[in-house]
Amino acid sequence: MTPSDKNRSEQSAATQGEIAAPSNGRPRKKAKKKKGTAASDVTSRFYGIPLPGVNLEELSGSLIVLEGSDGSGRSTQIALLTEWLESEGFAVQTMGLRRSFLVGEDIDSLMAENAVTRTTLALMYSTDFFDQLERRILPALRSGLVVLADRYIFTLIARSAVRGMSRDYLHGIYEMALRPDLTFWLNVKPEIAFDREFKKAHTISYWESGRDMSLSNDLFQSFIRYQSMMKKEFEYLSKRHGFVEVDGEGSVSEVNRVIRKRIAAHLGIQRTHYQPSHALMQVWR
């Protein structure tokens, strides 16, 4: 019972669900061009059906996404990028999973209970995502802010896909999501992610090791297997959506330099030198 595919053909090419069906013809790069060409990109800022009630021409800000597993260094990079952008005079808004006012806490408690099934959890996450998109990101983009997203729909799609949910189904839900201007993927080997996570928390989380999937009773094995599945899913998503792949195993400063360069080009920042403040120096190393 998936009528979506049949009906997709009814849509004009301009609004076709590109995540679900890779575009034929329209160059993906277009959406990533610098601001100013936005007018012609209006219909491609969503993956498929546009979110109801959004006037794309009002969106003057930029949406920049950082994806990567736990231990890939996302949060560190976001802290640094925020400071750098602010020092360059750009106002920043952040978003991340489970941070919506509407259901953020509810997801936390659902996950603690272990009673939740995969479709329900996926839909709670999508509620969380769209609440943030509609009530936080879009207003920020209307005000010309730079939105830094600590994970985006790609993690949500990948998590559900490795749990056996239909990719078409997931893409169908998120076709109303806004297409990011830039998506960075901090790619790290699961073993490296394990080391970093363990160092940080001295344990490995239930969900990040995919323990709900009964992969292995050994936590290390379970973590590696789960993260390897996620990595494979991301390799696929990366090709499809033109991620900027960054070697997340490099040093914080190296990774930061690479990302900064791309963002600087996108936002038209000339000088890319950046010296983190004392407060942030501790995470720099």
């Binding site: 019972m1 997709r8 004009s12 109801p52 509407l102 259901v103 109303m176």
Partner: protein, 252 residues
């Protein structure tokens, strides 16, 4: 849809779910009732349930929005009016998914006759009236099993609206569709909202094989008809109590 106009007024559901013969990979059966508020559907399903219950059939009754899982979120969203058409729809879908995966599916696999007061068509009709894309909604609920019978209780708008307005001191904000900004008057907003929902239901009669029930017919007469249809379309013997079949003949 080349231009980006919110289809707030969308009352059509252009995806004829072309008679896809429902897969029944389970021994149970699913009977659902649909219709706008005040159409009499809940009363009729209750009577159907009582009939089956009294005779000891293996049944389970389930209704929309009963899961404790998303209750706090729904309450928070409604109280503070934070819900947009999209998050409203997703939250209800999450709630439905919970009931579907933890209740309806296991019961169907366990050989129960499941009776549902409102089903996915409620979301199709109501959320499309709020401006959600019908195609998006169909995908969102594509995990749900197709019912064996979908009774659609239809009453004229005035009859249904009067039944509701008379019985309720104050219509709730979302219930009245106040979030759509149609009218500042709650009763008026409710009426227009219900009118759109009714039109959306009507669109699904053929595509989704609704069994049309006239909500203005007397309760007991309508119930008689409902029981007759259930008896024809569902192999009730499968759900009958094992021990004695003594009173089955009396049914219907």
């Amino acid at each position: 849809m080349a231009t980006v106009t919110p289809d707030i007024l969308a009352t059509s559901s252009p995806e004829p779910e072309k008679a896809a013969a429902p897969k029944r990979a389970y021994p149970g059966a699913l009977v659902v009732v649909e219709g706008i508020d005040g159409s009499g559907k809940s009363t009729q399903l209750y009577l159907l349930k009582r009939w089956l219950e009294i005779h000891g059939y293996r049944i389970h009754f389930t209704e929309w929005n009963s899961s404790p899982l998303v209750k706090s979120a729904t309450r928070r969203g409604k109280q503070r009016r934070l819900l947009t058409p999209t998050t409203f729809s997703l939250l209800h879908a999450a709630d439905f998914a919970d009931r579907c995966e933890r209740q309806i599916m296991p019961l169907l696999h366990g050989g129960y006759l499941v009776l549902a007061d409102r089903y996915i068509y409620t979301a199709f009709a109501r959320d499309a009236a709020r401006g959600c894309s019908p195609r998006w909604l169909r995908n969102l609920y594509s995990f749900a099993p197709t019912p064996d019978i979908t009774f659609y209780f239809r009453a004229p708008l005035d009859v249904a609206v009067n039944r509701i307005v008379a019985g309720r001191p104050k219509l709730k904000y979302y219930e009245a569709g106040m979030d759509l900004g149609i009218s500042l008057d709650r009763s008026e907003s409710f009426r227009i909202f219900q009118e759109r929902i009714l039109a959306n239901y009507d669109q699904m009669i053929e595509t989704d094989h609704f069994v049309l029930m006239d909500g203005t017919v007397r309760v007991n007469k309508l119930q008689k008809l409902m029981r007759q249809i259930v008896g024809e379309k569902i192999q009730l013997a499968k759900f009958a109590p094992k021990k004695s079949r003594r009173r089955n003949d009396a049914i219907g």
